[in-house]
Amino acid sequence: MIKPMPFARRAVLLAALVLPVIVQPALAADPAETFVAANIQKGLTLLNNKALSREQRQDQFEQFLLGLTDLKRIADFTLGQYRRSAPPGDVAAFEVAFQNYAVAVYQSYFSKYAGQTLKVTNSQARAATDYIVTTQLVDPSVKGPPLEVDFRVRTDGPRPVVVDVSVAGVWISLEQRDQFVAFLGQNNGNVKLLISHLSDLAKQFK
């Protein structure tokens, strides 16, 4: 006959089985979370670095953005259904124009958040290599609640990359795709015209 296990031993055994399951998720952040925590603050600090000249800051931010994001993938996404129908030469030229536009506009946009502190609060996996990392941007000079900023991170390449950013629930790449598709719809799918507009805008912001 098997002797019943004493309560204390059963409790220890149960704890040994269950505790690692409870503790593990809190200890092991996913690669996307680690990537965001390690890199985004660098960009905010860079934008706030008064020791750099305007040109130096622009150059360093461009390098930072290119290392952090997959702008080619984002550019292709923002073309929507026109990605498939446009001539390959136009798509390649659009990818270059989009990169220049994104660097100029994002620098202007994210300068507003320079000097603020980013805190990673959570992350969820959409798929094995597709994560949404939730963060809060804390402005020490403002009393109100922190700004919710989410990062969409893909980890299917040689290094993790950001493919979209959401500020207060608004995803930037989704907004850009709607704009570009609407523009192309109004202009007979003329990607060259879109490239020309993006180049003009990039010049205005530089």
Binding site: S108, R126, R152, V163, A168, G169, V170, D178, F180, F205
Partner: protein
């Protein structure tokens, strides 16, 4: 009177223009009235230039504390409506927070000029009947650009009407100057909202290749976020890259 007649003719013309067959892109974007909506946006931008832009610039030149006080009073006046919508959505915790904010800010905050409730842990949150309808499962319907009111949809337009004419308790306080009170409050609401979003909208307009499409998307995404009360979107709602 002649100006009003011209405006009505203009609006009538815009509505007739909307009867033309919509483009496939417009249908795909759930925007069958896109051509009319774009005309209304152009009209709104002209009205904004005439009636608001300069006033907003002057308003922004006033001391920040004064503008914050006006903003706080307007938000305090909206709290009973927010409270009712919290209740209708079954959000007991948020409803009690709205009630507490109203009591604290109306008394200690001197009619809502100051916001001591936020320091006491009752942070502001917005809520309206359009969001309540969404929580009850009502779809947004096609995109609409309304004269003066801007980006909208049938659900949120109906919600705005219910909030303004049915839920808002000031409707049930009868006094002689009610019309002026309503007009003044709505004007201040628009001025406050316009001043809060002035720089952001200027930035969006400057960096957009299609300002109309940008506003349409921003309205939809920010409304979705409000309806979710800030919770992250379900992963299935986002497209693949």
């Amino acid at each position: 009177m002649r100006g009003l007649r011209a405006l009505l003719w203009g609006l009538g013309g815009l509505l007739l223009a909307g009867c033309a067959a919509p483009a496939p892109e417009a249908l795909a974007a759930n925007d069958p009235y896109e051509a009319t909506n774009r005309d209304v946006l152009a009209l709104n931008q002209k009205l904004d230039d005439i009636f608001f832009r300069r006033t907003v610039r002057n308003y922004l030149a006033l001391p920040e504390d004064l503008r914050t006080g006006v903003h706080n009073v307007l938000r305090n006046l909206a709290l009973p409506t927010i409270f009712v919508n919290d209740v209708l959505q079954g959000q007991a915790k948020r409803a009690s927070s709205s009630a507490a904010r109203f009591v604290i800010n109306s008394s200690i905050g001197i009619g809502g000029i100051f916001d001591p409730a936020a320091s006491a842990g009752f942070a502001y949150h917005g809520e309206d009947f359009g969001q309540t309808l969404a929580v009850w499962g009502v779809g947004e319907g096609p995109f609409l650009m309304l004269p003066l009111l801007g980006p909208n949809n049938p659900r949120d337009t109906a919600g705005l009407a219910v909030d303004t004419f049915v839920i808002d308790p000031t409707n049930y306080i009868h006094f002689k100057q009610h019309l002026w009170w309503d007009a003044g409050r709505q004007y201040l609401n628009v001025l406050d909202l316009r001043s809060q979003t002035f720089e952001t909208l200027e930035g969006i307009e400057r960096s957009s290749v299609d300002y109309y499409a940008s506003l349409r998307n921003l309205y939809r995404q920010s409304r979705d976020a409000e309806i979710r009360n800030g919770a992250p979107a379900k992963s299935g709602e986002l497209p693949d890259f």
